[in-house]
Symmetry: C2
Subunit: 194 residues, 2 copies
């Protein structure tokens, strides 16, 4: 087969896969996790059931793939903020704010979303993603330490763990302004001791 043809197939497969993920997420948030079937997904995506089964064996596998895509997107977003121009302190603040907002959004949608999160949160890919975020925080904190704007009695590694957990509180907060205040408080904990 000519190379172009292969690429076209790849692009097509990717587009179908993305459409399946989007449709499933929509159906779950409309009807709840337990009532969504492979038939519904196929119908709403506009493909046959047989085709759907060539992509995924069951609803759970689709949700897992959807969740992995979400997480990859979030990590991408944080990495872009880390790699911006500007002093490390500002980039750290931007990254921490983004992480808090992501945590907040992920848990503040509707009940269906919560259900989903609860089911999916058992996955090993979640622990792996948290490790990525931790390392990203640690890297930036190390850069801030070099500017002298970080407390020097606690290692960046431990401060990254503190940030990760403290900002996780965004999941329990009820407004975006509360999330912003949480970031302020968390960053205050990082300042050099007077």
């Amino acid at each position: 087969m000519p190379r172009l043809w292969n690429e076209t197939i790849e692009t097509h497969r990717h587009a179908v896969r993305e459409a399946i993920l989007d449709t499933t997420a929509e159906l779950v948030s409309e009807h709840g996790l337990l009532s969504v079937t492979m038939s519904q997904i196929a119908e709403k995506t506009g493909i046959g059931r047989a085709t759907l089964y060539k992509y995924f064996p069951d609803v759970e596998a689709i949700l897992l793939a959807w969740h992995e895509r979400q997480i990859a997107g979030h990590l991408q977003q944080l990495a872009e903020l880390r790699d911006q121009d500007g002093p490390p302190g500002e980039r750290l603040q931007a990254v921490l704010e983004a992480y808090a907002r992501i945590s907040h959004d992920r848990f503040s949608h509707d009940h269906a979303g919560l259900e989903l999160a609860a089911v999916l949160h058992k996955g090993a890919h979640v622990a792996q993603a948290e490790q990525h975020v931790h390392d990203l925080f640690k890297e930036l904190l190390t850069q801030v330490a070099e500017t002298g704007d970080l407390r020097d009695d606690v290692a960046p590694d431990e401060l990254a763990t503190y940030c990760l957990h403290a900002l996780g509180a965004a999941r329990s907060l009820h407004s975006e302004s509360a999330v912003r205040r949480l970031v302020t408080v968390t960053i205050a904990g990082l300042r050099p001791a007077n």
Copy 2:
């Protein structure tokens, strides 16, 4: 039946129940969650299987009761520190340190303990206990606010949520000195802005 007799029965029942919980926790931490049976528990507690079944229907129910007892003990410990004499700021520090230590200990034992925690952490009583701890933090933070030693741009309610999550980082830390540093950092976030 005379009252004394009733009390003796109650005391006896309580002692047996406590012994069952202790034995089960021991067996689980020795052999892992999945390999422990009702027969083993009865034998090691020194009671008959029929007696054991009068107290608990299965291993899971015993573990749940054990976990509830642990949590009640921790809440009791925190409440005692809250109700000590002394300025609110010192009592807050004592309570936050104790909570961080408890979080650390609960997750730093052996793998069996981790397994146990994972299984049990689905219980509604865990969410309820976290709410208790949150309210206890909030109460003390409100008292500290009255002394002027607390930042006044964020409400005690939100600061309690921050503390609960930030100190949860103790679960991921590997030494007691790291836990102490975490408490220091967390408290630094609570100080009045300069």
